[in-house]
């Protein structure tokens, strides 16, 4: 591992003009004036030639990292560079689920930290991201699966994280929609994490962007990074479509495309890009008040506040950068949905789309320094990136600001592969298409 970046203490930049505080009373006041008093949620910054920190990627993790750098670690000389408009990558294309039910203690601690940050996020950001802790429910269909979930629940409870078993009778009452005796893989029971739930995904990007911008971070949209500048083993900045930008630290937060950016610095990562599909149905009146994960097939479902049911499937299983779904996976998800929830048979699916995932060789993310000094990576999120945004941002900010890993993200380093310390939740090994 390289030496931690050498930071000179710099004064915080002046706070910029704010979009003002959001509140019910302001909404009423603006209503009387024709809603004309609102201003931009985040400033459209023009890039300066140099920053202390350049974050590549205006998605959830990049914006959260910038926000925490500015508000927790006092580093405001920060630019977030985004190729297009912010928030249109995976933070705007996921199935919006948050939870911390993991097998490995390190991962439970990390995701639980994220869940705790979610719980106070809206008041901190003064932006309603509709964090809805309606519970996430995992169904099991065999004794082997029950044993796995029991082990996970026990492990979580040891760490003070909520998770409880539900009997078939309890499931009947809680999710009457589920056909427990569905003919092929009957449901034997479930495990519920009551504090899991969903978040309005777009609002996460916008809320962090607004908070970061107000704290002095430059959010630069339509600025594509085309190269990474190196001086030997040290990264000194980036080349962009809007000119070169020097930086003491460059942080890549471009999950889905980490390999491309790392290649610009001459690094090869333990990552493959795969597409994960999601679906949304037409809006209907409330039907489902919990997130359900099917244990015998590839799908999970929740109902958004707008009324649409949001479904997710599995990855298509081969390297791809095409943000689109395929027909076989669509049929598979629909079959699983109708099997488990036969009442949904006549519900109509509106849209399908795909998100490009950084799939790592052990299924766990990477928050790490790199062999190049001045280059930090936040990536490899597999399917778990959205729920991890607050913790990912905080721990990446810590790594950038302090030069040492955050205690909760120490296990997510890049060297774990070569050292034989992989964090493989599913135990499928270095086959990203199987995670």
């Amino acid at each position: 591992m390289s030496a931690p970046p050498d930071f000179k203490q710099q004064p915080a930049r002046a706070r910029r003009a704010s979009s003002g505080r959001y509140s019910f009373w302001r909404l009423v006041r603006e209503g009387l004036k024709g809603q004309r008093g609102w201003s931009r949620a985040w400033a459209k910054a023009v890039p300066r030639p140099a920053y202390r920190v350049v974050i590549v990627g205006g998605g959830g993790h990049g914006l959260a990292t910038a926000y925490y750098l500015a508000t927790e670690y006092g580093i405001t000389d920060v630019a977030v560079l985004e190729r297009g408009p912010i928030g249109l990558g995976n933070v705007g294309r996921n199935t919006t689920i948050i939870r911390s039910n993991y097998f490995l203690p390190d991962n439970i601690r990390f995701y639980e930290y994220s869940l705790k940050l979610w719980e106070g996020l809206e008041r901190r950001l003064n932006f309603n991201a509709m964090v809805s802790q309606r519970g996430t429910l995992n169904l099991f269909h065999s004794e082997a699966q029950r044993d796995l979930f029991t082990r996970r629940a026990n492990q979580m409870r040891l760490l003070g994280v909520d998770n409880e078993p539900l009997s078939r009778q309890q499931l009947k009452e809680r999710v009457p929609l589920v056909d427990l005796d569905n003919g092929r893989y009957p449901v034997l029971g479930g495990f519920l994490q009551p504090r899991g739930g969903t978040v309005r995904h777009d609002a996460v990007a916008w809320g962090y962007a607004r908070g970061a911008s107000e704290a002095g971070v430059d959010i630069v949209e339509l600025c594509e990074v085309t190269g990474i500048r190196r001086d030997g083993a040290r990264v000194t900045g980036v080349e962009t479509s809007r000119g070169p930008i020097a930086a003491e630290t460059v942080c890549l937060a471009v999950a889905g495309h980490s390999s491309q950016l790392a290649a610009m610095a001459g690094l090869t990562l333990p990552i493959e890009s795969h597409v994960l599909q999601a679906f949304v149905t037409e809006a209907i009146k409330p039907l489902l008040d919990v997130v359900i994960t099917y244990g015998a097939g590839h799908f999970y479902v929740s109902q958004s506040d707008k009324g649409g049911l949001v479904f997710g499937g599995a990855i298509d299983g081969y390297n791809t950068y095409g943000q689109r779904g395929t027909l076989p996976m669509t049929e598979e998800v629909a079959s699983a949905a109708v099997t488990l929830l036969p009442g949904l048979a006549r519900l109509k699916v509106l849209r399908q789309w795909g998100g490009v995932m950084d799939m790592t060789m052990d299924g766990s993310p990477i928050i790490s320094a790199t062999p190049l000094s001045g280059l930090v990576i936040n990536g490899g999120w597999c399917y778990g990136g959205f729920k991890a945004i607050p913790a990912g941002g905080m721990t990446t900010a810590h790594l950038v600001a302090r030069g040492t890993p955050h205690p909760l993200a120490r296990h997510l380093d890049l060297a774990r592969f070569a050292d034989g310390r992989t964090r493989d939740e599913r135990g499928v090994g270095p086959f990203p298409y199987l995670h």
Binding site: Q260, S273, Y321, G322, M361, F417, A418, Y433
Partner: protein, 94 residues
């Protein structure tokens, strides 16, 4: 959905095949050492562009195919036997 032209069976849906990942890497010789094996097992070029990859035709001839496919457009440029040198377009665009 991919339609892969299997040289032995004809053009078939992707669901007949099992993906086996990046075919541009060769297994290092037994004495190559830890670093070489770690790179072989874990590191991937993961190009956004032409990708040389393995597909095993499990629901057909059960032959292993080497396929050159574009990871964004999914266009398939070349399919051949495992030992054949693949034809990879120089231009990364689809």
């Amino acid at each position: 959905m991919l339609r892969i032209p299997c040289p032995y069976c004809g053009e078939r849906d992707e669901t007949e095949f099992r993906y086996r990942g990046d075919a541009s890497r060769a297994r290092p010789p037994a004495d190559a050492g830890l670093a070489a094996f770690a790179a072989y097992v874990y590191e991937r070029a993961n190009p956004r562009g032409w990708h040389v990859e393995w597909w095993l035709h499990v629901a057909g001839c059960r032959r292993l195919l080497k396929v050159v496919r574009h990871t964004e457009s999914h266009q398939i440029h070349w399919v051949g036997a495992p030992q054949e040198p693949p034809s990879v377009p120089a231009d990364a665009s689809p």
